[in-house]
Symmetry: C2
Subunit: 355 residues, 2 copies
Amino acid sequence: MYGVILAGGSGTRFWPLSRKKIPKQFLKLFNERTLLEDTIQRLTPLIPGERIIIVTTAEYREKVKEIVKDVPEENIIIEPAGRNTAPAIALAAFRLKDKKDEVMGVFPSDHLILDESKFRKVLNVASDLAKSSGCLITLGMKPDRPETGYGYIELGKFFDKRRDINIFQVRRFVEKPDLRRAKLFLRRGNFMWNSGMFVWRIDVFLEELRKHLPDIYSGIQRGVRFNKNGVFEIDSKVYQSLSGISVDYGIMEKSDRTLVIPADIGWSDLGSWSTLAGVLKQDENGNVVVADGIYMQGVKNSLFYAKDKFIAGIGIEDLVVVSSGNAILICKKSNSQEVRNVVEFLSRENKEDLL
Amino acid sequence: MYGVILAGGSGTRFWPLSRKKIPKQFLKLFNERTLLEDTIQRLTPLIPGERIIIVTTAEYREKVKEIVKDVPEENIIIEPAGRNTAPAIALAAFRLKDKKDEVMGVFPSDHLILDESKFRKVLNVASDLAKSSGCLITLGMKPDRPETGYGYIELGKFFDKRRDINIFQVRRFVEKPDLRRAKLFLRRGNFMWNSGMFVWRIDVFLEELRKHLPDIYSGIQRGVRFNKNGVFEIDSKVYQSLSGISVDYGIMEKSDRTLVIPADIGWSDLGSWSTLAGVLKQDENGNVVVADGIYMQGVKNSLFYAKDKFIAGIGIEDLVVVSSGNAILICKKSNSQEVRNVVEFLSRENKEDLL
């Protein structure tokens, strides 16, 4: 099995901790390792480093090289520009084209998985399944709350059971729902979160890519080469001309050979500060503190994230407080999706030192 | 007229901006001048620098010398220890003892007065009145809200009117009331806030001191001297042995020769972050921002004080947010008196770098 890690994202929802130069995959949210390192370490018991491909942008090349020790440098593919997941995954698939019917898994670089051994068990099953069935497999996450920030997958017919793990056909993909529908999905029980993790045979994916996204297929086929140093690269103009489309929308929703494996592995996409607060250890008042010291009086259900500061909180609740470098965020927890508005504001105002 | 400025306080309610080494009188809350400098500049049109005495502690001596240009160094009196206002004022009175029937005014060093010309007009009247009446004069501030953080003075009989300014006898001093009584006082209209500003003849004050606080009088009389460099000083052991008592409680409440001048001069004792928020310029949503930049979305009635930071606030109200050096305070506005609890906590824990 090969692993493809998508590490080109430039997420903004962890501002002011995440910045242009340090997007989420390079943050050390839980320990002394970045999320990208965690992603790799989670895979290496199953997929050795030389079989892991990292797709990122030129901007983050040095950063990736610096922190990633287990993956050979020639396995880092540079996207000349951000073009969403379909072109990024396609790049990796072309890099592995001669592996034909071998299996590749696709993994975001900035998610959390608490139950790693379960994750690897699911991955093993998915790998065998991809090999034998010739299908595109999605890992679906069992929802535990009516989350409106994720896409959902409705389970279709039961397909198979392997090593205690059920496999289903995909009835349909559903874009981020409103709260009413999210509650309905949770109640119904046959809707899974779309985690953005996929497993498939390299040749099958390339067939489906050619079928559903022919322009991307032919563009990349035309544009890629191994340069004189043996480094796999894509022509910059060609890549920039591709349409930016997600693999979910561009392929998964359209393909008729998809399967989904519902998995309960303690997954989180860490999509916002409040999501992070939900997975970090809370005290008896529901507070999460990552700081150089804390005084709290009448503080409830709040997140304080300020590694180098002492924080005093008095009489507050449901807040996210983050201090990093030259900026401080104070945000109602339920508004934490709106942190991206701050980043948009700063971009409009050209505040480079804050981005 | 002489001016005595009390600059030995070590207030804690502006933490984390105020610290042990930088108490409130040394903060630049409104402009590029410290509150102590503002206090002096407010007086100098009436009282030249060589007639101003500053009482402070050894800890702040250098700081005072550094920032105070208009007042000669020999006019700085060092308290060997903090012993509240009665001993501090008594020290200054003994320093001026040979001026006999000249008048001295006593002024805290860390208050705000918006209407300075009115203040000086009142002071002129108070000075003449002190000279002619031989009374202890308090400047009483007309309340505009049911403040529970101040002491009050109930007006007695009308005494005189000079230059459009009414003068009353003092019926009684009232310690900080609860909200119900504060509302009553505000409604009644004959209760003034006790501002801690006093005007009296030096000889009269010394008489009253001897009468009501004989131990302090005789202790200081025994302990003071001009040393061989001509510097006025008090024996450290003697001063430390004095009881720490306020001039309000020790003399004003007991004396039968007190008068009060109600004054409406835009005074604030700047007793807490929320008091400060009340006197700084608010935007249309009631927010006050002192920061290196701000993004606000759904923010109401809040104070942000972080001179060197960009602040983003989303969906919050009635908050005080202060960042200074290695610490951040996030406090419900109505809890801002409790900031001293943080300082007490830090003292107990010996967190010297945060005090």
